[in-house]
Symmetry: C2
Subunit: 334 residues, 2 copies
């Protein structure tokens, strides 16, 4: 099952709104086939693994990180497993979609295949936490990111090496379907935050311009003018709202089927402060990713806005340090 999870990681950020799935086929203690679903719309992991195994799939055991799909159509994976005469199927997690949950397992059992479910379940669930959250709540998973100095000052600048390929600020955007940014942040930058990973799928960027006469400059697209004038630009959709709330943004993201949204909090951000507070106070936030910069910052009015206090104390259920290149990131769940 761990091998399945390794395979799945090859598809990070590519499968949304579908879940990420890995499959390994084992016969007589040897791996005879492997696969993962590379992209929404393409065949599922099991199909690739069965093709890889060929005739060896007969009487073999298939390990799948997610319950095989039993939806009618091209990608009916249960049918493929039955046709290949697999003897046993080991499932990481049962699908959290209310439409398909347990149907795949039931169908395999009805065909005489031995099914074991819930093996390394926590690990498999973590892989698809955004998909699972979306299935259970109907809204995208929301995460907050920022960089903070050792003396508690938020910084506009991710640490050294973070934006380069392999750096965390290059890896993070590809894990989310959309990134919320401040228009004031965009104003200063030569380009939109972009994942530098090979063949990365870039997230949808949502730029927030709070006041009615805010200018919205999108690097590479405009040279700066009023918000209203942007509606006609290719690649830019302008939404004007009297009240910018996180609730409204998540609702908006639900329509195109986005599973995960990252609120990228960078300094001097009147635009985002209220959204952060709302996210905490209305329990809309599921994850937090904090980069701890190896700096003790000096006096700087731009940074004076942090700490961002909320009404109540929020406690992380888990907080773990991770190291990407030179960056230290603390990741926690609420």
């Amino acid at each position: 099952m761990r091998r399945c999870v390794k395979l799945v990681r090859l598809a990070i950020g590519c499968t949304s709104p579908n879940p990420m799935v890995g499959c390994v086929i084992v016969k007589d203690g040897k791996i005879v086939g492997e696969g993962f679903n590379p992209k929404a719309g393409q065949p599922h992991a099991e199909v690739f693994a069965l093709r890889d195994a060929g005739d060896l799939a007969e009487n073999a055991t298939a390990y799948v990180s997610l319950e095989p799909c039993d939806m009618e159509g091209l990608h009916r994976v249960t049918e493929a497993l039955i046709k290949a005469k697999a003897r046993k199927v080991v499932v990481g997690m049962v699908d959290s979609s209310p439409i398909v949950a347990s149907k795949g397992v039931d169908r395999l059992r009805a065909a005489g295949i031995v099914v074991t479910a819930g093996v390394e379940e926590a690990l498999c669930k973590k892989l698809n936490e955004a998909y699972t959250h979306q299935m259970l709540t109907g809204k995208p998973l929301l995460a907050l990111r920022y960089s903070i100095s050792l003396n508690g000052q938020v910084s506009d600048h991710p640490g050294e090496g973070a934006i380069d390929s392999g750096g965390y600020y290059s890896k993070l955007p590809q894990e989310y379907d959309a990134v919320i940014l401040s228009s004031t942040y965009l104003h200063d930058k030569p380009s939109l935050p972009t994942s530098q990973e090979p063949s990365a799928k870039q997230p949808l960027r949502i730029a927030i311009a709070r006041s009615s006469n805010a200018t919205l400059e999108v690097p590479g697209l405009t040279t700066g003018s009023e918000v209203e004038s942007k509606a006609s630009l290719v690649g830019v959709e302008t939404v004007i709202s009297d009240q910018i709330t996180m609730n409204a943004i998540l609702d908006y993201c639900t329509r195109p089927g986005l599973c995960s949204v990252l609120l990228d909090y960078t300094g001097n951000t009147d635009d985002l402060e209220e959204l952060v507070k709302e996210s905490f106070e209305q329990n809309m936030l599921q994850k937090i990713a904090v980069e701890i910069l190896p700096l003790w910052c000096g006096r700087d009015d731009r940074n004076a806005r942090f700490p961002l206090n909320t009404e109540e104390v929020s406690k992380m259920k888990s907080l773990q340090p991770k190291i990407y290149n030179q960056s230290i990131i603390l990741e926690g769940h609420l």
Copy 2:
């Protein structure tokens, strides 16, 4: 040499003002003797290891984390190695004390013993960084500790499990010869911060009371009155100074031969804020240990004082996350 370092760790906090040393004696590829210096005033590591090895020390190789001492007197370790007829001595680091540096190595070589110096030197130096700093600069090593929330608020309270045995706030005090505390912090507490580790040597506690009419309540000793009245209490030395500066405190600590001082920054600390700034701005600080609490704090005036800004940005040479029980600590050097 790594085995030496492991042995040394058994004596953390017990040897100051002497360095920590470990010794392993190897003959024909087997360890035949081990030792470490358990406490200032007791025989040195090599003597324990030679006793352990007995006659097997002849023609053996001795691995020592620090250059053997050649000072005249009871603890002249070079003499003991020569008498035991060791063939080879491998030294982790040459002694940084200007009085004894390289003398031990020279004496061993003059007696015909093969000496290799600088093996795993960085690791050995790290063990005795306070001793080395004190020897090179004449002042104790200064470190700063505090707990901070994910939104950059300093907290009076170390995280869950931190003060219990095995927790970082129990382990940290025994690594320092003295701990600087705020008198306002002591006011609220039932006891002085104390290491709960088995047979821990408790550090000297230095309580700072800044204003002339500050009350200084030492838990377990007094019930609160004027600073002046404390001079006669057993176990309490009162120093009254017009100007409390870090420079003056470190000078004061140099006299009893203290090698390391921890500035324990806890919230609501008028007493300590200037000391922190001075430490950064005068480059007096060598280390920082920051506990990152898994909390997003709410509004609280007591905590509003952080971030503590300095004139300049200070950058850590190294910053590494460490996990003790449930606590996440970032440790860095300046």
